[in-house]
């Protein structure tokens, strides 16, 4: 199925491309908001994004496994934590 099909590498390439465009756009957002970005700020943003992806991925993997309740609980629990961390990170990143 999906895992071993031709679609899989194409799919991940598309995700990579979308992520690249996202970061490109983000650069302009930060510039327009007059936020000075340093390498460590980019690193923090990237880590946060990975955590968000893992949270979404974990939740939807469980939903795909026919464990919708576990998936939703996972999403709520880690989603709230990720959002709170996101708020904290924004405060640090937004410091000019």
């Amino acid at each position: 199925m999906f895992e071993y099909s031709m679609i899989q590498p194409l799919f991940w390439m598309a995700i990579g491309l979308l992520t690249a465009v996202f970061f490109l756009g983000l650069r302009y957002w930060f510039q327009d908001l007059k936020i000075r970005m340093y390498w460590w700020k980019w690193l923090v943003v990237a880590i946060w994004l990975i955590l968000l992806a893992v949270t979404l991925g974990g939740a939807f993997t469980l939903i795909g496994e026919n464990e919708p309740k576990a998936g939703v609980r996972f999403l709520l629990f880690f989603g709230i934590i990720i959002l709170l961390i996101g708020g904290g990170i924004w405060k640090i990143v937004a410091r000019k």
Binding site: M1, F11, I15, L18, T19, L24, Y28, D32, T61, A70
Partner: protein, 485 residues
Amino acid sequence: MNRRKFLKYAGLASGSLAMAGVSAGSFMAGRSKDSYTGWGRTPYGKDQFFNRTPFLVEKPTYQIVGKPERITYVENIFRRNSEFFRLLMNRHPDGITWDKSQGIEGLPEPLKTYYTNHPSAFEEFFRMREKAREQRTNWPKYKDKYHLADAWSTAHSSFLGGPALFPAEPSGPPEEADFKGVNPNPLPLKSPEHGSKLIKKIAHSFGATLVGIARIKKEWVYQGSLRGVGRVDFEVPEHWKNAVVFAVPHEWESFYANPVYGTSYDAYSMLRFISGKLEVFIKEIGYSARSHVPPGQYDLIMPPLGIDAGLGELGRNGILITPELGGNTRLAAISTDMPLIADKPIDAGINKFCKKCKICADECPSGSISFDDAPKHVIRGFKRWKIDQDKCYTAWNSFATSHAKGCRICLAVCPYSRKNNWIHTLAREVDPRDPTGVTSKAMLEMQKNFFDYPGANEYLPPPDGNNKTFGKPPDWLLTEEWFDV
């Protein structure tokens, strides 16, 4: 809109799309049939295997606390019960008759000694018979609902009927039976290493998911009954040197829908085919071979052999838990004199995890699994968690199935019996490498708080329960999807 503005919004849209893609991809990873453990590309021995090398240990994780003893055949519930049934049906080989009024005292040996030491098992035998009778009268109520599940299981157990049993049961002493058909002109094997590698490849090619090799210790050999000979006490035959131990999983979707939609026979029939073919193969290259296969054709006990062969560790539920298949690991073995290198046991933290977990004990419909934190019962010289096999068998007889087809709830609910996708693979790989135990604590908390378990009694038919299954049954086992019922 200028280029800059366009890129700002395109970036936001791309980020959202990427996250949606990650979610959709993950959904597929959860759903995919490629993630059913043990059902991938195993015939070439290359698939989803756990790297055991960092976890090899000198001593297996079972605890020897006394002098290891051999297991007598009546300690096996199926063989004990069939002996008891024969007695009740006046078919005892020595013509002995017995009725319940004579009590344990009046039983012939070895039943008398067994039940004197286990009086609760004696009472449980009659409770089981009662439950079986009750369920036989209830069966017409369920037979349409579980029509497909029953037909599916019956198809898998068809190998048990008729004279063409494969592999054939040995007849005569092992010194003769195990050598029947052995090639008298074998080629010289390059080395035992070559032997081990070859046998593992061949076993995989026959369909075995996991394969390991163990030395046969005398305490892994049943006493009091020898296939092909009969009820005798015997010394372990000289040529029972090594055991090739192999495992396959149950079909995934029915396994998750235990107890009523699952069966043991799907894995059993596969094991018998693998074993029968491997037995012939080993004899063809010049060595003795005897299959030890389910459901009851064993002279060796399987879980400890699987532990010695490095396949996994003993779980609280009394079965072998492997890193890849968890409790969904069904075993068979070949005893042989072929020179082979034994594998080392592993310590991947499974035994330790069981001390905290107890999910199988919580969910067991018969309350047969111990809740003790650490194993404390000494059984034949080994410290172990106690399993009440008699109560367990009463549960088998209570389910809404056509006959006692087994339960397997303790296999299905085990957190190690999870799919082979990134999230469970991550847990499988990180946990045994984390010396702090934080990962296993976190995993266990998630297992217990995020997942729903029906609850022990719910698996039983009314009035005790509601015929619940652990997971959702697949559509191909739902009679109502295909027939008017």
